[in-house]
């Protein structure tokens, strides 16, 4: 979740830049803008590698290592493992996709695979690898955004983007509320174990109720107290809210925003055919 303390690192990126980066990675890696265009594939690979640079700059060493490992494994699997499985299970030559999520490389179940069993395995492998390569970069860049931004920085950034208070205040409350709700959830879980209430097959609904009812009760109470405390300190008043969060654009923001822009330029270039003549 959001880091709770203000960043004192020298490497500081404006929340707005982070939002732009997340959207860009989401566009290309998750939503697969640009489809199977080879130039866009290169962009995609580059964006997937971006967290490898950003995470260590924010001193998230463990996350960097885990991500590098997962990325390497899934890319390797896409490049070598899949074609091997496909050719082993079917006599026909495997589709040669470097990135498995390339829609054209997806085998047709009854065209490529003669056996239902083999086809299921290939589908499973494809689905797993595709999910990893498509979702992991977005997950990682979102994680980076969340752990390097405080809630008040984000709210300030959104306010500067002229988001109305009706959007920013609920957002701030939400992020304030999540840790509290998780803590309550843990306490209820503890209490259930202490009382010997266990998950049982026939009483699933009752178990759900046992968990949810106390949670709602305490959540409502906490939210109520929170609202009182906030309103007695002037939240929602007529004054235009200021903020002590130090946000602003620096050189690093320029670099990252240029990068985002470049990705979209490549996409448009490739899609209109202007770029493909030169790169291929």
């Amino acid at each position: 979740m959001f880091r709770s303390t203000a960043a004192h690192d020298r490497f500081r990126v404006d929340p707005r830049t982070k939002i732009a980066l997340t959207i860009t990675v989401g566009c290309f890696c998750l939503a697969r803008a640009g489809g199977a265009l080879p130039a866009v594939d290169v962009v995609r690979l580059g964006l997937a590698c971006l967290p490898v640079i950003l995470l260590p700059l924010s001193r998230r060493w463990a996350a960097t290592l885990v991500y590098m490992l997962l990325l390497a494994v899934s890319l390797a699997a896409a490049a070598w493992l899949l074609p091997t499985i496909v050719s082993a299970l079917s006599s026909e030559p495997a589709a040669n996709g470097v990135m498995p999520q390339t829609a054209g490389a997806m085998p047709q179940p009854d065209g490529v695979m003669p056996h239902a069993f083999g086809s299921a395995i290939v589908w499973l492998a494809y689905a797993t690898i595709a999910m990893t390569t498509q979702m992991l970069p977005v997950a990682m860049i979102s994680y980076w955004m969340l752990v390097t931004t405080t809630a008040s920085e984000l709210v300030t950034a959104l306010t500067r983007m002229h988001m109305p208070q009706a959007v920013t205040i609920p957002l701030a409350v939400m992020f304030r509320f999540f840790p509290t709700a998780f803590a309550e959830q843990r306490r209820i879980g503890d209490a259930m174990r202490m009382r010997g209430v266990r998950l049982g097959g026939t009483r699933m609904l009752a178990m759900f109720e046992y968990r949810v009812v106390p949670l709602i009760g305490s959540s409502v109470r906490i939210a109520d107290e929170l609202a009182q405390a906030a309103m007695t300190r002037g939240l929602g008043g007529p004054a235009k809210r200021t903020s002590i969060a130090r946000i602003g654009f620096h050189a690093i923001d320029a670099v990252l925003l240029t990068l985002c822009m470049a990705c979209f330029v490549v996409w448009i270039g490739a899609a209109t055919g202007w770029l493909s003549d030169r790169t291929l």
Binding site: S218, L226, M231, I244
Partner: protein, 602 residues
């Protein structure tokens, strides 16, 4: 100024409060808060009168028959008083006497947040609260609430301190300057940049006070600020009130625990059923005779009173006149299997022994709790005391065996070695927030849930509770459940939803559940926080009965010296995850415990 204050508060005709100013230095004392024939009763504002006839069926909705939320206190009636600027005013009285309502009328939550019918006028710093709104009152009144966990809007200290000023639209540089100055003043500079959720209750309450102080409102309102705090944190709170007083701010505190304000209070107002029944000066409060204090239902007003023995008769002590001496004797005796011939209870005497308790958080090396050995007298009530963050809750987790990180063994008086899993079935924890451990739809189901071989009662029979033994025979667990409920005065509530009950009733339901599943060792986590004297004594009686009549061993984690002294037989002092002291509560032990629990507040 304190004498002036009394004059002003006692007058019902709003006479000029400056009349008796003894200092003479300040001939025109400003009135900070003025109540003029104020009444307030909670409930929906009767708006349907205006649209009568439009939706006649709406009025038939049984809104009044719904169980009243026990949290919303009763209203107040025809209150008239004035508080001069710079005074420290204590509002006291039993729960539901209306003191919280007074604080809400001052900070504007009533009537702007809580619906209700208000009569009369409340003037705060010259502002009619009804003509203003919450945001308009915010610069004039700062509020500190009871629960430190739920009054933070951000999760970092700096952001929290800046929050009010940001809302007022102050210049960011000015806010930064103020935040730094206030952090200095409250000596919380070291906390800036720390995660608020990971701080102790005392630190959180300090940050809450500081965050209110930053915007420099001239009036401070505190609603039971000490309810969740240990002795050290209460001493800090006392310093903060002193600081505000020195700065000339008006401080209005609604409280049950009074000893920590001794010497700071200019005026104490005692409420009962929404009316002001007594106004005293701080000195009068200090010298209040015990008998009068008891009639008013007040807790000790100075720390010296806490240790005075036998203010309240101990339940059960009549049948065991030499019990405390006994504890002392057996505690100094190494033979744990020893049997006394002094009475029924002593036959079961012995100790629960703790062996190598430790608890280590994830990703840390050093255990936060490390107890090589300790003993808990069986069939007695043991208080576990120590500062916030000393590991008391962790100790309770270990004793209960709640998770894998809890290491160690508990040896029962009869020699059984209880692993963590065994303890889950031997111990029962009654949480401070009891609502977290009540799951079912009715009080009876809640008790049946713990009975072996019992399934929750079918809803068809849940509506009528047969009390005859014959019905109980056809379904034995039900008979046992009903007996337990009767013993705890819960029989009439057997059909109610547990969450619709009051805090004390919920606590009793949890105790009933513990008795139903035959747990031998009961752990209470802060059972008396935020309770007035009468309710605190009720809890004490109930806990004593568990040990004296139900033969249970009780371990109570508490910050409440008054409670610990009337309810407990033995004390364990926990500091930085270690047991530093363990003694029986004989007369010397009582003084020792009171010292631990009221340190720094004398």
């Amino acid at each position: 100024m304190s004498r002036t204050m009394t004059d002003a508060a006692e007058t019902t005709k709003l006479a000029n409060p400056t009349g008796g100013n003894p200092t003479g230095a300040n001939s025109t004392v400003e009135i900070a808060v003025r109540f003029d024939h104020v009444g307030f009763s909670y409930g929906p504002t009767p708006t349907y009168d205006h649209s009568a006839g439009d939706h006649p069926t709406d009025q038939d909705l049984p809104r009044q028959t719904l169980p009243r939320q026990d949290r919303s206190p009763d209203g107040i009636h025809d209150l008239t008083f004035a508080i001069p600027q710079g005074a420290v005013v204590l509002l006291c009285g039993e729960s539901g006497c209306g003191k919280t309502t007074v604080t809400r009328l001052i900070n504007g939550l009533a009537p702007h947040y809580f619906d209700g019918v208000m009569t009369g006028t409340v003037t705060v710093n010259g502002l009619d609260t009804r003509q203003s709104d919450l945001a308009g009152l915010a610069p004039h009144v700062g509020s500190v609430f009871q629960n430190p966990r739920s009054q933070f809007f951000t999760l970092d200290v700096a952001g929290e301190l800046a929050f009010a000023c940001e809302n007022f639209g102050m210049d960011p540089d000015e806010i930064r300057r103020r935040v730094a100055a206030t952090a200095d003043e409250f000596r919380i500079g070291g906390l800036i940049g720390r995660d608020i959720t990971a701080m102790s209750g005392g630190q959180q309450q300090k940050v809450a006070c500081a965050s209110v102080s930053v915007a420099a409102p001239p009036i401070m309102v505190m609603d039971e600020p000490s309810a969740n705090l240990d002795a050290r944190a209460i001493a800090d709170l006392r310093d903060i009130v002193g600081l505000w007083k020195a700065q000339g701010r008006t401080v209005i505190i609604a409280e049950h625990r009074l000893y920590w304000l001794d010497g700071l209070v200019d005026t104490a107002m005692v409420f009962r059923s929404g009316r002001l029944v007594r106004t005293m000066t701080g000195a009068e409060l200090h010298d209040l005779p015990d008998r009068e204090r008891e009639t008013l239902g007040l807790r000790p007003t100075r720390s010296g009173q806490i240790t005075q023995p036998d203010q309240i008769t101990r339940s059960g002590s009549a049948t065991q006149p030499d019990r405390i001496g006994d504890t002392d004797r057996t505690a100094s005796d190494n033979d744990t299997g020893r049997r006394d011939d002094t009475g029924r209870r002593d036959e079961s005497n012995g100790f629960w022994r703790i062996e190598d308790f430790s608890y280590t958080y994830r990703r840390t090396r050093r255990p936060v709790l490390s107890i090589p050995s300790a003993r808990i007298p069986a069939g007695r009530v043991t208080a576990v005391v120590g500062p916030n963050g000393a590991g008391k809750s962790t100790f309770a987790r270990c004793l209960q065996g709640l998770d894998r990180r809890a290491k160690g063994t508990l040896i029962a008086p009869d020699g059984r070695r209880l692993s963590r899993r065994d303890r889950m079935r031997t111990c029962f924890t009654v949480l401070q927030d009891v609502g977290c451990e009540l799951f079912t739809e009715s009080v009876l189901d809640e008790v049946l849930l713990g009975l072996p071989d019992a399934t929750p009662a079918p809803s068809s029979v849940g509506s009528s509770i047969p009390s005859s033994v014959g019905t109980a025979d056809t379904f034995p667990p039900r008979g046992k459940a009903e007996r337990i409920l009767r013993d705890l005065d819960l029989a009439e509530m057997a059909d109610r939803h547990p969450l619709s009950l009051s805090g004390g009733q919920k606590q009793r339901v949890a105790i009933a559940a513990a008795l139903a599943c035959d747990r031998e060792l009961l752990i209470f986590d802060e059972p008396t926080s935020g309770l007035d004297r009468r309710h605190m004594e009720q809890v004490a009686t109930r806990i004593r009965a568990l040990a004296d009549h139900a033969d249970r061993t009780v371990v109570v984690i508490t910050h409440d010296p008054e409670f610990a002294l009337i309810a407990c037989d033995h004390a364990l002092v926990l500091e930085s995850g270690r047991i530093t002291d363990s003694f029986a509560l004989d007369s010397a032990g009582r003084t020792r415990l009171a010292d631990h629990l009221t340190a720094d507040c004398r």
